[in-house]
Symmetry: C2
Subunit: 358 residues, 2 copies
């Protein structure tokens, strides 16, 4: 087992990564302060891992709520199912919530923990690669609104993140690839050497080689923890982690949540960001081709859905959380391995990138 | 005009109290950091004061959303109306929300501000006595769940509280009395001299004597600011401000939100807390009679609804936010002007107090 620490003063917490961690009670118990816990999972993950998670809590008052699976359920209605369960169980301010599942379960459980009785503790047990390398670390929680992704939420840090890499053995291939998109992202924004490693080890990741997966997860969490420790509430460099996300969120919202996986939309969004970076004169054509190449190797889509026009993109991008005082800001690449957040891009070039389908 | 400061480090803010403040643009503008603002009000207050509030924002991009009036609308559905408005207006992270109304508008606007895009600024302009002396100060925000009051929410401090006492001239008598319940509360928990002042000046408050009202508001806000500055997130003495509230919340939830005004339920709850304090041997019969006397003088109810049994109370009280690890804690009175939070009460005595109707 390897352990990273996210350093946030009195809100610091450990990230444990390894095989068989769902059997190691002593990792979780110190982070449960009261006498009761509620596990939140979904219909896909609960049949596989709920029993193991319940054993972690042996001796505590515990219950579980199982949500429908999918990004299309990441909304206020599903969130309310968690609140109702907590109230029916008479959960109080010392209750600890446990998120057992992928990014949707983690984001919703975290937001329920942030808002139930104005805030209770929670623990992340991510079971998808995407949740392990990105969403379970850093305290961003929330739900979608029909008009925009993650528009309702809070910063609320977990007490502990428990990454049992064994759970990846039951992950669908498409979900594995979607997770790799966020791994590639760390290479593109801040680590050219990691990008080369990914290129050399992509086949191992796709066949779920444990050592390769563990290294990719560890390195990704290390990047995430460094960035979040420096800028918890995204007033500066944390926004770099959104490379490809402004384009990607527009795809997810326009196509209907759940049609494109988040990682798939982000992969395509990173290609679009690369294309705009090329138009700005920052990336060479070869660089953009390399971005497409590495994402294609991960079996990810690299072109936006044919149904979406440039106007569709503009409509959804105009409510992105990186808009400030009316100006859209984007994460673009100065080179492979170095990204910036900027509102200083050529609007005509953006429109060309967005309108390649039309 | 008088100004108090709530001291919370980098989240400190001023509370301005006086006549005609809705005409004083310079009080509000320094607290609006971006270029846009959204006013949230309700169908009762908007016809009276929305135009004045809009003039405060002259020159900014602004819009308004008008909610239905009443505690029964303080829920996730109404909150979602605010989110939808914000997204339709393409409100970004630098948008400032303005709560123009009573406690329901203030709590919901504050919670929308806490959660929209993971947090934007907001300003409180309370127009009811209850909101002026209690809910607009201190950063408690949230909505109700059918199973419990204020069960979903956040601590999120406003940037400024603007109390224009002229707005009390349009307040319904019943709402004025409900506000006085929270004023009496400060006397009962920490200020015997204020209790005497209230007894001597109750008639002036009821006929809306401006000097008496301003003094009562100022003194109440001073108490609130002191308590919140010492214990922002209610780990200790802030819980004292909930005198009568555990009983009162049960009344509001059991009767259906909006049937009893919050202040009316709190008044009755304070009488019940006094009765239990008497059973504990802390208050004399005369003290309890005095609590009833001063609340009756404010034209407030002093007995629970006849429809509610002791079991009804227990059911709703068991999900109170002051329950910790399964133990109910109550605010009780050691003497008139001194209260404590305790789980060490006689359960049989509590049942007697709760069952007086049955």
């Amino acid at each position: 087992m390897q352990t990273l620490h996210l350093d946030l003063g009195d809100r610091s917490y450990p990230i444990h990564i390894g095989q068989g961690l769902l059997q190691q009670t002593e990792l979780v118990r110190p982070h449960i302060l009261g006498k009761s816990a509620v596990i939140v999972s979904n219909t896909t993950v609960a049949p596989l891992y709920l029993q193991a998670a319940q054993q972690l809590l042996d001796g505590l008052k515990q219950s579980a709520v199982t949500l429908p699976d999918g990004e299309e359920y990441k909304n206020l209605d599903t969130l309310n199912q968690i609140y109702t369960h907590l109230l029916e169980q008479k959960a109080d301010r010392k209750t600890t919530l446990i998120a057992l599942g992928g990014g949707v379960v983690g984001d919703m459980t975290g937001y329920a923990a942030a808002s139930y009785q104005r805030g209770v503790n929670f623990i992340q047990i991510p079971t998808t690669l995407l949740a392990m390398v990105d969403s379970s670390v850093g305290g961003k929680t929330g739900v979608n609104h029909p008009l925009g992704k993650n528009m309702i939420g809070a910063f609320h840090q977990p007490r502990c993140v428990l990454i049992d890499t064994d759970t990846l053995n039951t992950l669908a291939d498409r979900e594995l690839s979607a997770g790799i998109a966020e791994v590639v992202k760390y290479g593109l924004i801040r680590d050219p050497a990691f990008l080369q490693w990914l290129d050399a080890n992509m086949d191992k990741l796709l066949v779920r080689d444990p050592a390769a997966l563990t290294y990719a997860i560890y390195r990704s969490c290390e990047h995430k923890a460094e960035v979040v420790a420096a800028d918890e509430r995204e007033s500066g460099q944390r926004a770099l982690l959104n490379l490809g996300h402004t384009f990607g969120h527009a795809i997810e919202a326009a196509m209907g949540y759940g049609k494109w996986l988040h990682g798939e939309a982000v992969a395509t969004g990173m290609v679009m960001a690369a294309e705009l970076s090329q138009q700005m004169g920052w990336l060479a054509a070869d660089d953009v081709a390399y971005v497409r190449h590495i994402l294609r190797r991960a079996r990810l889509p690299v072109a936006p859905p044919v149904e979406m026009s440039g106007d569709d993109f503009m409509r959804y991008m105009s409510v992105d959380k990186k808009v400030l005082d009316g100006s859209l800001r984007l994460v673009l690449m100065k080179s492979l391995g170095e990204s910036i957040v900027t509102a200083e891009f050529d609007t005509e070039a953006l429109k060309r990138v967005l309108s390649r389908n039309s």
